[in-house]
């Protein structure tokens, strides 16, 4: 890999994401108010120093709720990407490296699956597993995200299968497992990392959409998507609820998107 050089997009994205991550981690341990406690202040109050994002119609502190919700959205998206990236890379590595019939069949299946929008597939899986549970959302989205990662890594592994340094290592008697993990995997990072940033953003948006529809994460678990659907109902009375929640989603996706853009530019993929 080239010497890591940070460009403007990467820097901006990393700073924004770092700030949000610190806030989210803080939110797991401490929030200004109990996110579920009612009457922490006047009802439907606009942003003040006591309530940074105001309060909703039950007098709950919106900033605390957003912190908790963002934490949950972040955890789900990270788990989904972890499932997708690990399983997808495993499938992609094996099929790309060994090739053959299994490769052909799996890739045709993959083509068929990636043609479908991820939310639609996830909704089908959710309706089978049962709606409204956090772990079902993770499982459903995780499964849906495997094919796209498999496709990306397969190409990378297939391209590196017969390059000279891999041939040399093979002649030196390295096992296939060692070649895959120690010698090829690090070289696929230039495609895997941007894929992870894109996957993360898709996962955030998919989870938020599903929770918005009431079939993803539902109370008592917090979620930005569910909060937005709550906020829509009181938009006229408390616009800061929808704005605070929505802008948090936008910033999260924007930050990670900039990291992806920066990574791609560093690899010279975008002119």
């Amino acid at each position: 890999m080239k010497k890591a050089k940070l460009n403007g997009y990467l820097k901006a994205g990393l700073i924004l994401t770092a700030i949000l991550t610190v806030l989210i981690i803080l939110g797991f341990f401490w929030t200004p108010y109990d996110p579920e406690a009612m009457m922490t202040g006047p009802k439907l109050q606009g942003p003040t120093w006591q309530h940074l994002m105001g309060t909703d119609k039950f007098g709950r502190d919106i900033f605390s709720r957003v912190l908790r919700g963002a934490g949950s959205t972040f955890t789900i998206a990270a788990s989904v990407v972890a499932i997708g990236a690990v399983c997808g890379t495993a499938v992609g590595a094996l099929t790309g490296y060994f090739g053959g019939m299994v490769d052909e069949t799996l890739m045709r299946l993959n083509d068929a699956l990636t043609a479908f929008p991820s939310i639609l597939l996830a909704l089908v899986i959710i309706s089978i597993l049962g709606p409204g549970k956090k772990y079902n959302v993770i499982v459903a989205l995780g499964l849906v995200f495997i094919p796209s990662f498999a496709r990306v890594t397969r190409t990378a592994f297939a391209a590196l299968r017969d390059v000279n340094y891999v041939k040399s290592v093979r002649l030196m008697g390295a096992s296939n497992g060692r070649i895959l993990l120690v010698h090829i995997l690090p070289n696929t990072m230039s495609v895997l990392l941007p894929a992870i940033t894109i996957g993360f953003n898709n996962a955030v948006l998919a989870e938020a959409s599903m929770s918005f529809l009431g079939i993803g994460v539902t109370p008592p678990d917090a979620s930005l998507g569910y909060m937005l659907s709550e906020a829509q109902g009181m938009f006229v009375a408390a616009p800061w609820y929808a704005l605070g929640t929505g802008i948090t989603i936008v910033l999260l996706v924007f930050g990670v998107g900039l990291i992806g853009e920066g990574l791609q530019r560093r690899n010279g993929e975008v002119a």
Binding site: P117, P131, A208, S209, F235, V236
Partner: protein, 316 residues
């Protein structure tokens, strides 16, 4: 022609596989709908009678065949929660979702192609950085958030349409399209950003090629080369991308219909999932899947018109 026939055969095969999977999956999980429908009143005799009435006592493949035919004859079974034929429930909604997706698609094509070509002609500098930032920001805005803001701006504030009062497509077509336009706008913004970005990088990649250098060195101006030569070559990946866009529109419209209270397929799907109304879910999933696969097929057919090399089975 041979290519087209092959492609259409593949489309049909894919649809048979998708519908079979959907049918079997929902058949396995739904348990016994007769017991579920009767609830506390279930006695073995009543359950058996209802099973016969619903046709559940016959083999799986027979029921699948009948159900598949139902897409042509209009007999898709009975909804568990509404106790009405599924076909009657979803037929008017198909049209609404069709209009919404069509409108969004037109909006995306009309805005992003000129914008993408414009941005491809200039590169580098401060302006380029700013454009990338705006682009990333637009991609980051989820359609349901834009939807909330737009419906507040145009419905509550400007009163251009009444949120929740969707005019019937058959009675007030103009009004319905106006209502759908705002939803289409919310759907289109992130996709426009993606299409512009995609078009830009494709065109710029194409501009680096030898034939472009040759054309320019022979005295053609850059604009002319762009429109006469580059565009044709850059179009194939763009058409494929637009087909994927169609798929994404279908998916996001599920959420946006909810935001704008549009009585479309997506909203019906969400309600049916919550109610565990499997016959309805099944039918909607297959219709949406058909749509997506159809878009892919149409894109392939258009591409082989644009690029005859594809007809020989070569890769794009």
């Amino acid at each position: 022609m041979k290519y087209a026939a092959k492609r259409i055969a593949m489309l049909l095969l894919t649809m048979v596989i998708v519908s079979l999977l959907a049918f079997v999956a929902f058949d396995l999980i739904s348990g016994d709908p007769a017991t579920a429908m009767l609830g506390t009143e279930a006695t073995p005799e009543k359950v058996a009678a209802l099973r016969e009435q619903l046709g559940l006592d016959r083999p799986l493949l027979v029921r699948y065949g009948e159900w598949l035919l139902g897409f042509f004859t209009g007999n898709l079974g009975v909804s568990y929660s509404y106790r009405q034929p599924v076909w009657d429930l979803i037929a008017p909604k198909v049209l609404v979702t069709l209009c919404l997706s069509g409108l969004t698609f037109v909006l995306i094509v009309v805005v992003s192609i000129p914008l993408g070509l414009r941005s491809a002609r200039s590169s580098g500098g401060v302006l380029d950085g700013a454009r990338t930032m705006v682009n990333q920001l637009c991609m980051a805005v989820p359609p349901f958030f834009t939807g909330i803001l737009l419906s507040w701006l145009f419905s509550t504030l400007l009163k251009w349409f009444v949120h929740g009062k969707f005019p019937s497509l058959t009675e007030d077509f103009g009004g319905a399209v106006k209502y759908l336009f705002f939803a289409a706008l919310a759907l289109a913004i992130p996709r426009i950003a993606m299409t512009v970005r995609m078009l830009r990088s494709t065109v710029q990649g194409e501009m680096q090629k030898d034939y472009v250098r040759t054309a320019i060195s022979r005295g053609n101006d850059r604009g002319g080369v762009l429109y006469r030569h580059v565009l044709k070559n850059a179009l194939v990946p763009v058409v494929t991308f637009l087909a994927q866009t169609m798929a994404e529109i279908v998916a996001s419209s599920i959420v946006v219909e909810q935001v704008f209270a549009i009585p479309g397929l997506g909203r019906m799907l969400v309600t049916s999932i919550s109610n565990r109304d499997y016959p309805t879910v099944q039918a909607i999933v297959v219709i949406l899947a058909f749509w997506v696969v159809l878009a892919g097929t149409v894109a392939d057919l258009i591409n082989q018109r644009i690029d005859p090399r594809l007809r020989l089975g070569g890769a794009a």
